[in-house]
């Protein structure tokens, strides 16, 4: 089993919430990753801030779930889709130094 397997306590930090959201550390179930994606993050401003500002940019599993599933599949009554397109992108959220894609100057 994973060393950081989650317990049933409310997360006290972004790292603890990350463990709740990752299927590897919180398997599907009544309080599994699906519950935290469907119920807790969309309805808790503190979790939302951790999620969008810290967790997505630092966890490959959550990052993939958001971009590949939660946004395009309109999870949680379109919460992720709406927040992504109306807030996260327009307001320039979350510093990310992992990758940089410089604009190309190649013309026709």
């Amino acid at each position: 089993m994973y060393a950081k397997e989650v317990n049933n306590q409310a997360p006290q930090s972004a790292d603890e919430l990350k463990a709740k959201l990752n299927p590897a550390t919180n398997p599907y179930g009544a309080t599994g990753w699906n519950y935290w994606w469907d119920q807790e993050v969309p309805n808790n401003p503190t979790y939302q801030a951790w999620f969008w500002e810290n967790i997505v940019t630092s966890d490959n599993a959550v990052y993939s779930m958001l971009w590949d599933k939660a946004v395009p599949e309109l999870w949680s009554n379109q919460y992720y889709y709406n927040y992504f397109f109306t807030t996260a992108v327009p307001t320039g959220m979350a510093i990310s130094y992992s990758f940089s894609f410089s604009a190309s100057s190649s013309f026709r």
């Binding site: 500002e53 810290n54 971009w67 946004v71 320039g92 959220m93 130094y97 894609f101 190309s104 026709r108």
Partner: protein, 227 residues
């Protein structure tokens, strides 16, 4: 509940992230513009939403509309992905013709006449044949205006050789048979054509030279036949 210190850290981090940082340091913008849309992530979800809804319907208080027309295209973002999609596809194929802002209509009737899109290319290859470059130099401040007058029309961007057939939206055909004769955009093209493009020798005299022979060309629609 989260500790107060954690809340404070999140707040500070948020403030920093929105303070005049370039797009590539901002996670969601960076990945959306450079990866998710051009690489057609999630079965084209981001690509389809952006081109079919976000831009033409001006969602998020026109954020995507302005971003597309004012930055992504003229700044050649993502290896010119947006630039090529607009010039090679969206305008010529008349994308989203029934939407609030069809690409073709917005381009011809708003972007070029209104001067959208900061010019990021150096228009150094124009006016080389001008007889009076100093006095007649035109300021190409607009990406769309520059590329239309100096590239797309003179070079007949469309990939089609010969006269257009049927419902063609090639730049050359649209310009000579529609924009000039009909005085579209409050005569923006008509006025500029006669007062500047022809007389000042724009695009190495393309407009002047083409006008001379346009009366005999079927694509010119008969408008240019001398009286």
């Amino acid at each position: 509940m989260p500790a107060a210190a954690s809340d404070k850290n999140v707040k500070i981090f948020t403030d920093i992230s929105t303070a005049q940082l370039p797009d590539w340091t901002q996670h969601y913008k960076n990945y959306l513009w450079n990866k998710a849309i051009p690489e057609l992530w999630a079965n084209q979800h981001y690509y389809q939403y952006f081109f079919n809804t976000a831009v033409p319907e001006q969602t998020a208080q026109s954020y995507y509309y302005n971003k597309f027309w004012n930055n992504l295209v003229p700044e050649f973002t993502a290896n010119s992905f947006y630039y090529k999609k607009l010039w090679d596809k969206a305008i010529q194929e008349n994308w989203m013709a029934n939407s609030s802002n069809p690409y073709r209509t917005v381009f011809w009737e708003t972007m070029v006449p209104a001067g959208f899109g900061p010019q990021s290319a150096s228009p150094k290859d124009i006016f080389t044949e001008s007889k009076d470059k100093v006095n007649k130099q035109y300021t190409w401040a607009n990406h769309y205006e520059y590329y239309l007058w100096n590239k797309a029309v003179p070079e007949d961007w469309s990939g089609e050789a010969g006269p257009p057939i049927g419902n063609s939206y090639s730049y050359k055909w649209t310009f000579w048979t529609y924009m000039i004769p009909l005085g579209v955009a409050d005569n923006f093209y008509t006025d500029r054509f006669w007062s500047k493009a022809v007389t000042e020798g724009w695009a190495n005299n393309y407009y002047y030279n083409t006008l001379i022979t346009a009366g005999n060309e079927s694509w010119a629609g008969g408008y240019y036949i001398p009286n």
